[in-house]
Point group: C2
Chain length 424, copies 2
């Protein structure tokens, strides 16, 4: 007991400075390409990604020049963790003046600078203030009231910039995959007839938590939540939910209307184990199907169809392939199996994607969906989840996470759990 109140950064592993330097360099190149003068980053996950610290504040990254992290709290910890210039935010209401002082050349030009921000996450009340500060920094507070706000949405750019993962990041996703596999292996013997979905997921969560799960699963979508995934048995897995996934689960009540319920596992029904955890900030997402007893022939066939689709999709997930093409190929495969109506949800509740990026958040880019015409690049990490929903009966399917490799070779699976129908 030293009597100091300093946070000792050696208490845990920091994000390597080289990682941050690469990320900032990549971001600045994108800003220049998109003709943005700077970005103002406000969301904790993005601040972590581009600075190495998650302390609260604002990160300003000019297209050229030195970024600054303005910290509200805790400046002391931020300084130890961040590998970019880190200073106290000071008075928030004078943040416009601060920016003008620190980035004079940017704000003293003939036209106001065009600044992007993470408007997919930033609450509107704070956005309105920041837009007025940016205008004030340029010396014309009336810009926003004249429809001339220069603080614009850069969230697509910021999402694209995080799609390709470094080896350091992929190692962390694999740590999460390992923690989940270990917890699943020790919990599966307790998955028994009569046990509730809630009771069983509590065991899995205990397992991943002791192994370092940070206790939250981060995601970007407004009003979306993930505890650690869902465990859905029989009809409870197949009920419609608000959750933006193929199978949300019944949930515990109107205040938790997805994921596990109080339903007890029964014999001969499909049990969907769609689980994740978050280690060092990085998430894993995987799904296995289990049954106590035996599945009906129809469900066995559907599970085999999921296996077939994921094998075919693996072949397609090569460098340069277009996300939308892969999605459409999966739709065709599901139709060929006669299961188009059951694929990725049922009827009006079908979701229109096959897979999604994972990393610091569970809903990253790219998405295997129409509208995503970007080619796959080495280092992108995607969770691919062909699933079939049978209303009133249940859901079967598989979800593996993969990293895209270079040169036309198939993706490397990051999921550690054996891919099989778990017959208990």
């Amino acid at each position: 007991m030293t009597g100091t109140n300093e946070f000792a950064a050696d208490q845990y592993e920091l994000i390597p400075a080289a990682e941050i330097a690469n990320r900032i360099g990549n971001l600045q190149k994108r800003l220049a390409d998109d003709k943005l003068d700077a970005v103002l980053i406000t969301h904790n996950v993005s601040i972590l990604y581009w600075t190495g610290t998650m302390q609260t504040g604002y990160l300003f990254v000019p297209a050229e020049g030195e970024p600054i992290l303005y910290v509200r709290r805790s400046i002391e910890r931020a300084k130890q963790e961040a590998s970019i210039r880190t200073i106290p935010l000071g008075s928030f209401s004078r943040f416009g003046e601060t920016l003008r002082k620190d980035y004079t050349s940017l704000f003293e030009g003939d036209t106001p600078p065009l600044i992007g921000a993470d408007l997919d996450a930033l609450p509107a009340a704070t956005y309105l203030k920041l837009a007025s500060f940016v205008a004030e920094a340029y010396g014309d507070k009336t810009l926003p009231d004249r429809g001339l706000s220069r603080l614009i949405d850069a969230s697509p750019l910021l999402r694209r910039a995080r799609m390709v993962k470094s080896a350091w990041e992929i190692e962390r996703i694999e740590r999460a995959a390992q923690a989940l596999e270990e917890s699943l292996a020790e919990s599966l013997p307790e998955l028994k007839e009569g046990v509730t979905e809630l009771e069983w997921i509590a065991r899995v969560e205990y397992g991943v938590r002791r192994r370092g799960h940070i206790g939250v699963m981060r995601l970007r979508g407004y009003n979306q939540e993930v505890p650690t995934g869902m465990v859905g048995s029989g009809t409870a897995a197949a009920e419609p939910t608000y959750f933006d996934g193929p199978a949300g689960g019944r949930g515990l009540g109107p205040a938790a209307p997805q994921s596990v319920s109080m339903k007890r596992f029964a014999r001969n029904e499909p049990i969907l184990l769609d689980l994740g955890c978050c280690i060092d900030g990085y998430v894993i997402d995987q799904t296995r199907t289990a049954v106590i007893g035996e599945l009906s022939d129809e469900l066995k066939e559907a599970y085999k169809s999921a296996e077939h689709i994921i094998r075919e999709v693996e072949k397609l997930m090569v460098e340069g392939a277009r996300c939308s093409d892969i999605y459409n190929a999966s739709l065709k495969l599901a139709a060929d199996h006669g299961l188009a109506d059951h694929f990725m949800g049922f009827g009006a509740d079908q979701v229109r994607f096959l897979g999604h990026g994972i990393g610091l958040e569970i809903d990253e880019w790219p998405v295997l969906a129409n509208g995503f015409d970007m080619p796959l690049e080495p280092g992108m990490v995607l969770a691919v989840e062909p699933k079939f929903t049978f209303p009133g009966v249940g859901v079967v399917g598989i979800e593996n996470s993969y990293v895209i490799t270079a040169g036309g070779t198939p993706p490397r699976a990051l999921t550690r759990t054996k891919e099989q129908l778990f017959v208990l």
Copy 2:
């Protein structure tokens, strides 16, 4: 197995229609008082509170007339859970037309209606779209570009409207308090020298999860997160964090820089157990201090000071008392004990409140702080948390949750765990 894909609302307990009717009536009165024509509610917690369902969509509540919940997904489940009129959202890009059709009289007046929204949560990108839809519904899409947006921040009004809890809500907070007490009681024997903070909180979390904890703790503050609270031993509890509370905890790494760490419990150090859980959507928040062995005289005295402050504050927490007065009284008491510098954090990291509202979120109103001059009303529920931070040594303190009662009587404690220094 019935072969139906209908969600059966009898699978779990719904929010009583009378609750929703009271809440909507209260909200409409506040809208009229504040001269707002309507509110457009977008955040999942607020939608749950005012409709009974948490399915995604938008809730429009006019100051006079019938509210409508426009649902994106799942309309089927929303219709079964909500006790107000619930219809499909339809095309989002035509939401302006929809509003004009459903609320013709509101949008066909001489002046555009003034509509509030939850701009403390709504992401700016969606806000910009909704503001243009509102302008379009009035027939003048140029309003926002002329600085005449009629979609304004109503978050203070919406927060005030949720401050007073019904008996039904308080019962749910008490259920959460009971689940936490049971889990704590079964976990305390495992709080031993050499066990890590992480390992021990995992046990507590397992206990509350099996008892119905929904797996997330909701809070409003942007970039704020709470797993289920924090367990902080010795110096790890006293380190500065970004978290907006008196003691955040060291955390597991830069990506989880608060709450538990890998530190092992040691003898004769204070161990702060600041824990919560969420049952039926309602949270409890409580803190106890424990020690394996014995605290130093200085820390024992500080703990007694926390006891004294909470006893005095209980006497002050009566109907009609001003929140800011109670906060300032606590500052004076801490100073009288000679502990002003240690109260509610240390030095630059002190937070400027003594307690906060709890309910569906952990950071509700009112707050026992300056700037909150509102009088306490019966039914308000507050977590009060006098704590003392000793840098390099640890944190001691107490947190109880109370409901304000009528007629000058002291508040009723909702916390179930015995208030004592737990000597293990």
